[in-house]
């Protein structure tokens, strides 16, 4: 039985981001667990990340994504420093640009707060704390990338 960890996933991401392996290696790392031929187990941390990352990878594999490297760079960074709020961090990293746009629209009144939260909640099919993610997005309206110091460990951002 092989145990897959969050750090192993980050290592695969790093290898891709440094140009040492193709993107498909990251995808394969995730899919191998769900195909379950070799008796893999995952840590609770990685399980949380997979809930968000698997739907994205399915989508990317089927229709492509020109921003996948950027998303992976953000995800790699946000998963690195803490074991908490991993699902929320994964959503925030993968959908950062869309979240920032939504936050701007909510901020200038183009959309109501309830619509804003509803839109945020639909950014991943898994259950996650979308209010936390929305609050992080509110603090990043003028930023070009996620700022670790603004995220913290959840609601205190």
């Amino acid at each position: 039985m092989m145990l897959l960890t969050k750090e192993m996933l980050r290592s695969e991401m790093k290898s891709y981001l440094d140009g040492h392996s193709p993107f498909s290696a990251v995808r394969r790392f995730v899919f191998q667990y769900f195909e379950a031929e070799e008796g893999f187990e995952v840590t609770e941390e990685l399980d949380d990340v997979f809930e968000v990352f698997l739907p994205y990878l399915q989508h990317e594999e089927s229709v492509g994504d020109p921003d996948r490297e950027l998303r992976l760079r953000r995800l790699h960074e946000l998963l690195g420093d803490t074991p908490t709020f991993l699902k929320e961090r994964a959503v925030f990293a993968i959908e950062f640009d869309k979240l920032r746009d939504l936050a701007k629209k909510a901020s200038d009144g183009t959309i109501s707060n309830s619509i804003y939260l509803d839109q945020v909640s639909k950014l991943s099919p898994c259950k996650f704390d979308y209010e936390a993610v929305a609050s992080w997005a509110n603090s990043h309206i003028d930023d070009q990338k996620p700022v670790l110091a603004k995220i913290g460990d959840g609601f205190n951002a």
């Binding site: 769900f34 399915q58 089927s62 099919p125």
Partner: protein, 422 residues
């Protein structure tokens, strides 16, 4: 069993009676990790001799063969109704177009399989060479075959005679008469009439039109009759038969008090016969959208065999597409083995967000499937694993569908190599 130009690949053919039923491929061959063939092709036949209906490959893509009055495959369409290949033959069965057929559909002239390596047709008792229009060996039944020339094919009249056994030829009208006789003996009067009429130039098509315009026809029957007519036009070549065809349609039209409509439509369709394949493709696609049952009924009618034979076979075959009987088995359900269940449990356990988890037993195989919601609301990916009684994975793939339910991608892990299909 044979190997192709790649010494590593070995192919195994499994026959049901004298029909090729399954093909398996062992990518490792004899040099690999052992005997490990994977299902690569399976075939669906109708009730008549050499009536090949469809071929399904390892990734569930299905090709349907549209045959003419001798069973010769003229057009090959996929499940969406798109024509993948239109074949033209010379009188003796040599494929003249396309120069290099690419559709993976080995059955060709009179529904017999063509060995592309040798260019010969397998006529059971003998090989037939279409390039010279004769068998490559003498008739093993000797003069009992009814021909003084022991090498001659179908009495040198390949347009009206067939020789599926390679031992003696019969006329297609004789075949029709025998079929009609058999149906009548079984009190299948309407089927007998349809079969008999289908061998008379134009009359079968006229009957289709009559069905299409009959006041008591259901919309389904009208659609089926239209497709049956389209197939007749495309594959039989209506132009020499336009006059008797029009007379027949007019006569039937009068009976229905819809003569003008029938003749007008018949004339338009006969003129449009040149479009052939496109018409058939459109018709097939239209019916395909109506679902498996409608297609099954339509094919049963278009092949002019009694319901309950071809129809049931087609339904079973199409049911395979919907995942209820994906692999042919012929084995009665006997419960899922522990090894299979353990493999399935392990597979399904990984999907925390999986919906619609399903376990379906198919003979000695068990299919485990679950839907994972996609990044875009409404989209989803279906993960499927099929294992045998021993827990060995036979198929492993995932299909992604967009929010409208349209298939957009398949990732295949088993059988290898890993690949993607769009």
């Amino acid at each position: 069993m044979r190997s192709d130009s790649s010494p590593d690949d070995w192919f195994y053919n499994i026959h049901r009676g004298d029909e090729l039923a399954l093909e398996l491929t062992d990518a490792d061959g004899l040099d690999g990790a052992g005997y490990s063939p994977e299902l690569s092709q399976r075939y669906l036949y109708g009730s008549a001799v050499d009536e090949i209906l469809a071929v399904e490959d390892a990734v569930d893509d299905v090709l349907w063969g549209l045959a003419d009055h001798e069973g010769t495959i003229r057009d090959i369409v996929d499940s969406t109704g798109t024509v993948q290949e239109h074949r033209q033959y010379d009188t003796f069965g040599q494929i003249v177009s396309p120069a290099n057929p690419t559709a993976d559909f080995p059955q060709a002239f009179t529904g017999r399989p063509l060995d592309t390596d040798t260019g010969l047709y397998d006529y059971r008792a003998r090989w037939y060479d279409p390039a010279v229009g004769r068998f490559v060996s003498e008739d093993p039944s000797g003069f009992a075959g009814g021909d003084a020339n022991l090498y001659r094919y179908a009495g040198n009249s390949p347009l009206v005679n067939v020789d599926p056994s390679g031992l003696c030829f019969t006329g297609i009208v004789d075949s029709a008469r025998d079929t009609v006789k058999g149906l009548l003996e079984n009190d299948l009067l309407m089927a007998a009439i349809e079969v008999g009429a289908s061998f008379l130039p134009g009359v079968g098509e006229a009957m289709d039109l009559a069905m299409a315009f009959a006041p008591d026809s259901t919309p389904l029957e009208r659609a089926i009759a239209g497709i049956s007519f389209g197939i007749g036009v495309a594959t039989l070549g209506m132009s020499p038969n336009v006059a008797p065809f029009l007379r027949a349609t007019k006569g039937l039209g009068k009976m229905l008090n819809r003569a003008d409509d029938v003749v007008d439509v018949g004339t338009a369709l006969a003129r449009g016969a040149g479009r052939g394949a496109d018409d058939v493709a459109t018709g097939v696609a239209r019916v395909a959208r109506r679902g498996a049952d409608d297609v099954a009924t339509g094919l049963a009618r278009s092949t002019r065999t009694p319901r309950g034979t071809t129809a049931d076979k087609v339904r079973r075959f199409l049911a395979d597409e919907s995942g209820t009987a994906r692999i042919p088995g012929g084995h009665a359900p006997k419960g899922i083995t522990q090894a299979a269940q353990a493999k399935g449990d392990k597979f399904l356990k990984g999907f925390k967000t999986g919906l619609n988890q399903q376990t379906t037993q198919i003979g000695k195989f068990t299919e485990f499937a679950t839907d994972v919601p996609g990044q875009v609301p409404g989209s989803f990916t279906r993960w499927v694993k099929v294992v045998d009684d021993n827990g060995r994975t036979i198929r492993l793939y995932h299909d992604t569908f967009d929010k409208t339910g349209k298939f957009i991608h398949r990732g295949i892990k088993v059988p290898g190599p890993e690949r993607h299909v769009r």
